[in-house]
């Protein structure tokens, strides 16, 4: 689906350029408090979640589908004897579905005492970004559902979309 992809990418790149100009101005100031993030890829965009909420990253083994489960639930997996519900993060964020690849991973997170798995396209790295580099997510340039985002970090020519795990995973039940 290259056409769709370009449609999504184009505004994002425009936004990135605009941010670049701002970032150059910002780097002069002293590095303030930092965010420690695990970043991963969805639909070619880089997302970040606080490392403090990440328990581990596992390979995608057998995920068992659960009949009649909500659409954004990929299924359940065996995490050392615990039943781990795995959320299809693409679907949760309103991104198009994609096939599993050898790079697909499940990021195991703990949100308010609940342990859940997030299916992502690939895990990129653990990194630190200055809190000052975070700006609110501009709706028009992000393909994901903005309600679940905390903002966007622009740092060293990268753009990291910060997920709000509580909002994304624990909708008012």
């Amino acid at each position: 689906m290259p056409v769709e992809e370009r449609q999504i990418r184009a505004p994002l790149l425009g936004f990135a350029d605009a941010m670049e100009a701002r970032a150059v101005a910002d780097t002069a100031s002293a590095p303030g408090p930092e965010l420690h993030l695990l970043t991963f890829v969805l639909e070619r965009e880089e997302f970040g979640v606080p490392v403090t909420q990440v328990r581990e990253v596992i390979r995608v083994s057998d995920i068992t589908r659960v009949p009649q489960a909500p659409a954004h639930v990929r299924g359940v997996a065996n995490l050392r004897g615990r039943i781990l519900a795995v959320v299809e993060l693409r679907s949760r964020l309103g991104l198009p579905p994609a096939d599993l690849t050898p790079r697909s991973r499940v990021v195991v997170v703990e949100v308010r005492g609940r342990v859940l798995g997030l299916l992502v396209d690939a895990v990129r790295q653990v990194t630190k970004v200055p809190e000052a580099s975070v700006v609110p997510a501009p709706e028009e340039v992000i393909s994901a559902d903005v309600d679940y985002l905390r903002g966007v970090a622009r740092w060293q020519s990268r753009l990291i979309i910060l997920l709000d795990l509580e909002k994304a995973l624990l909708p008012t039940e």
Partner: protein
Amino acid sequence: MSVGDENPFGELLQDYVLECLPLAEQVADTFVELERRWRAGDPADELLGSLPGRLHTVKGNSAMMGLTPAQETAHALEDACGLLRRSSERRTDPAAALLITGGGLLVDLVRQASPELDPGPAARYVERVRQWMQGEGPPAADTQSERRRTDRRGGGGADKTDSVVRVDFRRLDALLEVLGEGLIQHSALAEAYRRLARRSGACEELDRLDQTILALEKTLKRLESTLMETRLLPIASVFGRFPRMLRDTAEAEGKRVRLLQSGGETPLDKAVLDRLSEPLLHLVTNAIVHGMEPPDARSLAGKPEEGTIRLDAAPHAGRVVIRVADDGRGLDEKAIRKKAEALGQELRDDEVVPLRSLIFLPGLSTAEQVSRLAGRGVGLDVVAGAIHALGGTIDVETEPGKGTAFTLSLPVTLAIIRSLIVEIDHERFALPMAHVAETVRAEPDAIREINHRGVAQWRGDLIHVADGGAVLGTAAADRAPRRFYVVMAAGGKRQALLVDRLVGHQDIVVKGLDPALGRPDVVSGTTILGDGRVACILDSVRILEGGRRAG
């Protein structure tokens, strides 16, 4: 006596009789023939020679089955025959009579094949043979009474087991199943009450019904906890096996190891204990073979030559925590990470991939050289799998040079249900056996369509045959026809479900549904299958009700 000392081969008692009774009868017949030949002046060497092999087999088999009186009788006869083969001057009439008595006793004991037999007659007979072999001559035989007293012990004499009853564990399982049905019926009753109350409003009779239903629930819960307690055994029944095995293994490996234990009195459900011994044994074996350094390496490292393995159990927060710790060399974390990477695990950042998630990977081994049996090991992944299947967790801590500790956390009891495992559209599902009436091969013409519903003839009735994929919402368009259907029955309702494959029967440990999964109509829970995959447990009752939640 406890319910824990049941013979592991108990189910083979029939096979035991089939194999040993003809042997015992041949032996008994041979004794009679010996007496005849000896009286005729024939030493009958070849007849005597045919006996030890048969007696040896009966002895070994009886020992395996835990049938000690038969084992000891066969042993005594074997010894007696050995002596008679060596010294022909002992082949006398009284000797033949002694053998014939023993042959009859052995036939009786083998035929009855009961672990409950009075050990007295066999013990007395063994003593008589011993005296005869020492040349004291056979004491006056009380043959008849010996044979008669091999009958089952009567309920009479009160001994030390006064207030303890021996119960076949399967009966406790059956009781648990009955209780489970009671609990289901209780919830049906409560549901009926709620509907009734909604329809007719409050009244005194309804109040009383409500009270009774609440009281019934309390009674059932009390029954459940009493029953669960009955099933508990101290973990010492598993720990007790370790000292000997540890000694053997340490010796074979040239290591010096001592075993310290604590918490042996901690109670666990027998079903958990039964499935725990193997993984624990594996952890202990590993600790000796791989964890412990040889004595010289230990003293070089400034440690005592004798290593220590600790086995500790303790109740903790409604579960039981077991720790297997050694003071050996510790795990080589670098090697494990390297090997895991070679196995395809991506390890970009140590912070997010803890050691515990690698050490239990299938096929992980840090062996430097590929060994001759490579690829066929029982690895830690199998241990972890067994623990997980019990609803337990396993974790590892290690420090180079200091040692390794595995921590297991296990449920005290198991909610286990016997299930039929089926495959529908490439996924496996568990169907509780309580509601499975029959499995049938789906012949092409057997299922007809009436009013757009599949129906089939079953035991003289027409029953609805639903497609498993349609019920579960998984049906693929281009699939092959399903090959079997499972007839489910509950509460007078019957329906069949078409499935692709019958995988087999299994006792599964029930696990809950994560709230993130919503409340599916057709699934009541999840379980971990033997291969580590998760399977959904189908809610047969809801499926029979048409798949829609009541209310």
